[in-house]
């Protein structure tokens, strides 16, 4: 029937649309409103369009914003460095065992990431199984720490978001027609040139997707800084979390959340513009 056929797309989109409306659009709208209110938990909040929540937030926590983005960037770069060779090896050298190796890589991520991060803390603590013996034998100085350092937080972030880089890069490389590499060799490209001129450019869309999927959550993460970091490693996620749950400063927390969202969106937008839509849309086809 033409009527039901015209209706069908809307019916199909309805469940997902409703879900998004109820659990995304409504909360975001509420938060937007909250971010412009004043008051406290005891007296209640009133809509006062108090834009100072934003300027105050940015003024007070500017350095935390910068640190969050810096950590996110470092973690993203480390993720590329670790994920690309692994994805390359699985896509081109693993033969029939591709899925097995991919699964091996992902198995740790079946464990809750809070639990994994706590496990890191247990392993890397000052007198733990790694640092304890090293200190006892004088291999590292007795005041050597791993926890409470930038290194620990960035390493934790890298570890947490690694699969989000591996998977898109793997997909891009796996879809690459190996005959293109043969064609490159045939046209007098040695292995380095074949990689630089053919494999790398054709896998960039995967790297781009990986960067977005790693950088955004890594910059907004608070668990790694909370568990592995110290007072000097606070990320904006920790601030928002503390404002909400410890101080009950809902308007300031909401304003900080929106500021972070705006910064990340702007970053992604500029990044996409710089790379060009061609880079994103040009995926290798056989």
């Amino acid at each position: 029937m033409p009527f039901s056929r015209r209706l069908a797309p809307y019916l199909l989109v309805l469940p997902g649309g409703l879900w998004l409306a109820v659990f995304f659009v409504v909360p975001v709208a509420m938060m937007a409103s909250l971010s412009l209110q004043t008051g406290n938990l005891i007296d209640g909040f009133r809509q006062t369009f108090h834009w100072q929540n934003y300027t105050d937030g940015l003024g007070t926590y500017g350095d935390t914003f910068v640190r969050s983005l810096w950590y996110g960037l470092l973690a993203t770069i480390l993720c590329i460095a670790l994920a690309y060779p692994a994805a390359y090896w699985i896509a081109f050298r693993a033969g029939r065992r591709k899925s097995s190796y991919l699964l091996l890589l992902l198995i740790p991520y079946f464990v809750s990431f809070v639990l994994r991060t706590v496990a890191w803390k247990l392993v890397l603590t000052d007198n733990g199984p790694v640092l304890g013996p090293l200190r006892d034998h004088g291999i590292v100085p007795s005041d050597f720490h791993v926890l409470d350092t930038t290194t620990a937080v960035v390493a934790g972030l890298t570890y947490t978001y690694l699969p989000f880089m591996v998977l898109p890069v793997y997909v891009a490389l796996e879809r690459l027609d190996p005959r293109l590499i043969e064609a490159a060799h045939d046209l007098h490209a040695d292995r380095t040139a074949a990689f630089a001129r053919v494999v790398l450019p054709l896998s960039l869309p995967g790297v781009f997707a990986g960067v977005v999927m790693t950088f955004v959550p890594a910059s907004a993460d608070y668990v790694n800084a909370e568990i592995l970091g110290g007072p000097r490693n606070t990320m904006i996620g920790n601030v928002i979390q503390a404002q909400y749950f410890d101080d009950g400063a809902y308007p300031v927390a909401s304003a900080l959340s929106f500021t972070l969202m705006a910064i990340l969106l702007a970053g992604i937008f500029l990044y996409a513009r710089a790379l060009g839509t061609r880079g994103i849309l040009d995926t290798p086809t056989p």
């Binding site: 027609d177 005959r179 293109l180 043969e182 064609a183 490159a184 060799h185 045939d186 046209l187 007098h188 490209a189 040695d190 040139a193 074949a194 001129r197 053919v198 450019p201 054709l202 040009d282 290798p284 086809t285 056989p286």
Partner: protein, 367 residues
């Protein structure tokens, strides 16, 4: 200077067995001359593509050696071999423009910029793609992509061009047009072409010489005329063109010809090489267009076999008569409708098939 008969590509005892245990090529000996259009013809899985890949350097032989212009290249990586390939799927770089695709090989060889621009421009003109330099491969038609692939290989001026079924993906009309222009380009640049195809028509039209491959072995090497008119083996006879296979006992041998008795009254003369024992069973073949149909037993030293017409198929320019011989062999007779389109026999008619003894050829059975 290289003489016309100088070897461009030589394979000596080349064999390839994959790690999986499948043998693709079993001891090939082959010489492709300088400037020759040489075809490797055979069905899928006959080893023709593997042979090409061995020459290109994508595979290394498990035995034997490959020589380019007399220099052994076995073990030399593909990017250092002075040959270029036109791939079956074209394998154009999707992220590069037409110009950059064609310039790829020159850039890798660090040819000066100005020369690259000039050579790519001239090559695109040769393949009639001028004006499309900035397009991406996906924005081109199949025929245009094919020509980019050709230009991308040719622009490097290789010592030999390897083509792996380059016209396979094109429709019939375009394929025929490309056959003509490929041959023209090959003549113009005077380049050695090693051309892999399963299409016997293509091989016959374009090649200077053809190697018929089957199951990793060479069945026959010769000019298109030789391969068609004098197929050496049963496989070559049936794979290249249509052949009517007939068999019978050798009754007598004289002056390089054997007389074979086919059925009760069939008598076929066939040229033979060497000694053929009387009483031996001999298999021979004759092309459909060499056979004439008649009502009476042919005389004058012609071969003659009696049979019954089972089907008459009108083809427009010609008519095919399917005949079952008195010995039970199925034979196709191809008759041009040149003078008249009238049928010379109808279904169920008793007819005599006749042909010149030189048009029947004995087949080497079981190599």
């Amino acid at each position: 200077m290289t003489s016309p008969q100088a070897p461009a590509v030589e394979l000596a005892g080349v064999a390839k067995t994959y790690r999986s245990g499948t043998t693709a090529v079993r001891g090939l000996d082959l010489t492709v001359h300088e400037g020759e259009f040489f075809s490797l013809l055979g069905p899928s899985g006959c080893g023709k593509t593997t042979t090409l890949r061995l020459i290109a350097g994508f595979e290394e032989p498990t035995a034997g050696e490959v020589r380019l212009h007399g220099t052994r290249v076995t073990g030399v990586p593909a990017h250092r071999r002075d040959v270029n390939t036109v791939f079956q799927s074209y394998a154009l770089f999707p992220h590069l423009s037409v110009f950059e695709n064609v310039a790829f090989g020159l850039r890798r060889r660090r040819v000066p910029r100005g020369e690259i621009a000039a050579r790519v421009g001239a090559m695109l003109e040769t393949v009639e793609l001028t004006g499309l330099e900035r397009r991406r491969p996906r924005e081109l038609s199949g025929g245009q992509q094919q020509r980019v692939a050709l230009a991308r290989a040719l622009v490097n001026r290789p010592r030999a061009l390897l083509l792996d079924e380059p016209l396979g993906a094109l429709d019939l009309r375009l394929r025929q047009a490309m056959q003509v222009s490929l041959k023209r380009i090959q003549r113009e640049v005077g380049l050695t072409f090693v051309y892999v195809t399963h299409d016997q028509g293509e091989a016959l039209t374009m090649s200077d010489r053809i190697a018929v491959l089957n199951d990793g072995r060479i069945e026959q090497v010769g000019t298109p005329r030789e391969v068609y008119e004098r197929p050496a083996t049963r496989f070559a006879a049936s794979f290249v063109g249509t052949s009517n296979l007939l068999a019978g006992e050798v009754a007598e041998v004289a002056a390089g010809r054997a007389v074979v008795v086919h059925g009760a009254d069939g008598r076929i003369e066939v040229p033979v090489r060497g000694a053929v024992a009387r009483g031996r069973r001999l298999e021979l073949a004759v092309r459909p267009e060499k056979i004439s149909l008649g009502r009476a037993r042919p005389g004058g030293g012609l071969c003659g076999v009696r049979g019954t017409v089972t089907e008459v198929v009108y083809l427009g320019t010609a008519t095919n008569y399917n005949v079952t011989t008195s010995a039970g062999a199925d034979v196709v007779v191809f008759r041009q409708n040149a003078a008249s389109a009238d049928e010379v026999a109808a279904r169920g008619d008793e007819v005599w098939l006749s042909w010149e003894p030189d048009h029947s050829y004995a087949l080497e059975t079981a190599r």
